[in-house]
């Protein structure tokens, strides 16, 4: 190593990101007696007016990031709430028009579980299977639409494999069919360009903590023209034009606004830097045999890579990589023994799903850290293959799929 690195190294930016210090600075100004602590809904004094000003400034910053009108931004607690508000909100409001929803099998659980709830309420949901590259195509959407379809909900970028869908092409189809289009952009907002008008998106979920803002704050973009209506899921003081009640957390909102401002300003440069880091990492680990990228190699987020290391198991690989903060597609990290539903939907067999790791690079990742990660991964994979009976058999030219395993 030429450059010293501090361990553990954080390579899990798709999970969450550290708050940018510029964002921290803005947030801390909105908390205490000598700062902007007021309730943005207070109309009778300057504390409220100042807080409202900060909230509206942030609303403009976030709207700018996605080329929206500030009046189309609704603050929520995060992308999970945004997804729930969008999906249940549309379904409940338009139920007289139809009760069919189209989504994909590899959406985030916030989308899938909201859809499951609607199924229990009598709605019908089509779960599209993505292609083997992890992409849900416009053609798949077109062929799933019915006369009673009221909503299509498709993620922009996938949280496990980092693949990016062609949202603009899907938007053409849904707009022409008069179907409302919701996009879960939790992983893409601030990382790749989003223009809600050009993409013909009607609803878009965002989260601050995936773009170097704080946890606990997110937003839902709700289109005004043509107007999209949603039924509120949280009732109370009528904040956010009745779509989401609850006192607005000024510091959280100001933080998300600042995070959006920085993301927009630095997006092009950051994307090219992260793409280079990702390619550097792949160039390193793909020097080993039997190593595969999960999901499309090109159509993906700049800093995200999901890799299967055949013949070694993900959890034991993680154990060997304790200097790296990464996540595994293997089941063993969770309480269930099922491997990732996303990787299975891609058509990966269970053993390749068990052998996968997700690496995600971000604003504070350095080349030295990537090089160190490559070294560590190589060492761990080689060590575990040394003790893997499957690797032995592969070396002996045995096709593992011809063996009758005693499943347990």
């Amino acid at each position: 190593m030429n450059v010293a690195v501090n361990t553990p190294i954080y390579l899990d930016y798709l999970s969450t990101t550290p708050v940018d210090l510029r964002v921290v600075e803005v947030m801390t100004r909105c908390l205490s007696m000598d700062g902007n602590f007021g309730n943005p809904a207070s109309r009778s004094h300057v504390f409220g007016w100042k807080a409202e000003e900060a909230v509206e400034n942030a609303r403009m910053q976030l709207a700018d990031l996605i080329s929206a009108d500030p009046r189309e931004i609704v603050w929520t607690s995060g992308a999970t709430e945004s997804d729930n508000l969008a999906i249940k909100g549309v379904a409940h409001f338009y139920q007289k028009k139809g009760k069919h929803i189209v989504t994909s099998k590899i959406e985030h659980k916030a989308v899938l579980d909201a859809c499951r709830q609607l199924e229990r309420e009598g709605y019908e949901v089509t779960y599209l299977e993505p292609n083997t590259h992890g992409v849900t195509t416009p053609e798949m959407i077109a062929s799933a639409l019915r006369d009673d379809t009221i909503l299509v909900s498709i993620m922009h970028a996938n949280n496990e494999i980092g693949t990016v869908n062609d949202i603009a092409a899907i938007g053409e189809i849904t707009r022409a069919a008069g179907v409302i289009f919701h996009v879960d952009a939790a992983q893409s907002a601030g990382k790749v360009e989003i223009d809600v008008d050009a993409m013909k998106v009607d609803l878009l979920s965002m989260s601050a903590h995936k773009m170097y803002g704080p946890k606990g704050i997110g937003a839902l973009y709700v289109r005004r023209k043509p107007r999209v209506r949603i039924e509120a899921q949280v009732h109370g003081g009528g904040h956010e034009r009745g779509m989401r009640s609850g006192t607005l957390p000024t510091h959280q909102i100001a933080g998300m606004g600042e995070a959006a401002r920085i993301a927009k300003e630095e997006m092009v440069e950051e994307a090219s830097r992260l793409t280079a880091l990702r390619e550097r990492f792949w160039a390193g680990v793909s020097g080993m045999p039997e190593v595969f990228i999960n999901g499309d190699a090109e159509q993906r987020l700049p800093g995200a890579l999901n890799v299967s290391f055949a013949y070694v198991e993900g959890e034991s690989l993680l154990m060997s990589l304790k200097d790296l903060a990464i996540s595994s597609g293997s089941a063993c990290t969770s309480a269930s023994l099922e491997p990732s539903y996303v990787l299975r939907a891609l058509g990966l067999n269970d053993e390749m799903a068990h052998s996968s790791l997700r690496f995600s690079f971000g604003r504070f990742t350095t080349e030295a850290e990537v090089d160190y990660a490559v070294e560590q991964v190589e060492r761990a994979v080689n060590k575990l293959r040394e003790i893997s009976p499957l690797w032995d058999m592969h070396q002996d030219g045995i096709d593992l799929s011809t063996i009758e395993w005693a499943a347990h």
Binding site: S316, S388, P389, L400
Partner: protein, 126 residues
């Protein structure tokens, strides 16, 4: 998930990793598990003419607990006769390694592996 010190020790320094000649009539091989389930163990024993296990080797594809369970097992079976080895219970392995409930199946797999190896050896000799 937190691993016990013993699991970590076996994982970092696995004992008796390797392969014995399957064609040797003194060698019994047990291979259990399935790649799709996330673990496969291959346990091999070498039995002398007195019926004592004088060597044991393993290779395991699986989580740290599966690797530790099979590593521990190779230590335990050496010096035992076949009946003693086949009598090893998964609960003993789980207890020794302080496996959490979600990892008990790793110790079950290890018990299956030694039983399969003993059976394979006996079938060969019959």
């Amino acid at each position: 998930m937190a691993y016990s010190d013993k699991v970590l020790d076996h994982y970092e320094n696995p004992r008796n990793v390797g392969k014995l000649d399957d064609n040797d009539e003194h060698v019994g091989t047990g291979m259990v598990g399935a790649p799709a389930c996330g673990d496969v163990m291959r346990l091999q024993i070498k039995v002398n003419d007195a019926g004592i296990i004088e060597d044991a080797k393993f290779k395991t594809y699986g989580c740290g607990s599966a690797i530790a369970s099979s590593s521990l097992l190779t230590e335990w079976v050496k010096g035992k006769n076949l009946d003693e080895a086949a009598a090893i219970k998964n609960t003993q392995i789980a207890q020794e390694l302080s496996l959490p409930p979600v990892k008990i199946h790793c110790s079950v797999l290890a018990e299956d592996a030694i039983k399969a190896a003993v059976k394979n050896y006996r079938d060969k000799r019959d």
